[in-house]
Subunit: 201 residues, 2 copies
């Protein structure tokens, strides 16, 4: 937008919005206009929410979750199973697991996956702290819940190897047909995995 | 995300981000996480930019543009042609016209289009103020640059009718093949319009 008759305040807002994942230049302009049309209903509340989050939210020193307390709600919840650790790539995956409500243990967030292409090595991820935690006598099982991608599975293998000395069972999420999924839309790998893991009906 | 172990600060941030056009619930969560990972590089600057825009930006009383000054930069620019008004639906369209650099007159922002479906009537748009401005002796031409949609064209017809008493020439943008456009991807209406308006080569 540079060089146009757009005020610097609006240019700056658009430039920052365009840095958000999922917003390109065009949608950043649309979002900026929408905010400008709703200064009190949306723009000021969002400014406030961002400021408060920046002030209050930090990364959990135990699991890597983001929360207003450190250690986080999940690490300190008395009701959760301390014998099971679920390893996920990102906080978004923790949220997805929590939405599903299928896990009541604690988490460990890697912060990504190993990647030869992107130069991400074991020391760039929270792997050492995972080995530490898994070696604690309370922990009986480590569930690897990385994405079913090549990098995710490479990371899962690496972690499994390095958990050999820890006295824990290592498991991973099952592959198969998504609930509600249509075979016709699934890739061959998923169908093969679902066939291999078929169960009596 | 309600009922989950997500802090209220993060829930509020996600809820507000999800109100932005172009961001659904999933992309709002991803945007929130990205912001939380970059508190100083992105979250605080965005909070500041939103606050400043909310404080400083207002709607131009003449044309409907959003700007740090009122009347806006464009309405007060001495170098711009005061005999021509370009009527657009929205500020985003003014920005698009300015990016194209194909117009050096002034603008009038309607704030939408007439729509029987959405119950948008002439008095809901900045049409009365347009008639006023077009009736000023300086104005010689009104260019209707509404979207080439049914509602856009209905609005153009309505405005043309109501400009009959003003001593101005009313024109509209040409229809045709977009520059770089491939015929195979264009709808029949565009191809017909381009054929009808064909010009000697
Ligand atoms: Zn934690
Ligand atoms: Zn103006």
């Amino acid at each position: 937008m540079s060089g146009l008759n757009v005020s610097p305040e609006i240019e700056r807002l658009i430039a920052l919005l365009a840095k958000l994942p999922g917003l390109g230049p065009r949608s950043a302009r649309r979002a900026a206009l929408d905010l400008l049309k709703k200064p009190n209903a949306l723009m000021r509340p969002l400014a406030l929410a961002l400021g408060e989050a920046a002030d209050r939210i930090s990364t959990c020193q135990i699991c890597g979750n983001v929360d207003a307390q450190n250690p986080c709600h999940i690490c300190t919840a008395p009701g959760r199973d301390i014998t099971t650790l679920c390893v996920v790539q990102d906080v978004a995956d923790l949220w997805a697991m929590e939405r599903a409500g299928a896990f009541r243990g604690r988490y460990h967030i890697l912060g990504g996956t190993l990647s030869a292409l992107d130069g991400i090595r074991p020391e760039d991820l929270n792997i050492a702290s995972l080995i530490d935690r898994a070696s604690h006598e309370d922990v009986k099982e480590v569930i690897l819940a990385m994405n079913a991608t090549v990098d995710g599975q490479t990371t899962a293998h690496y972690i499994t190897d390095h958990l050999a000395k820890a006295n824990v069972q290592v498991s991973r999420l099952a592959h198969g047909v998504p609930v509600g999924g249509e075979l016709d839309y699934l890739d061959d790998g998923t169908i093969s995995a679902a066939m291999k893991s078929r169960r009596p009906f």
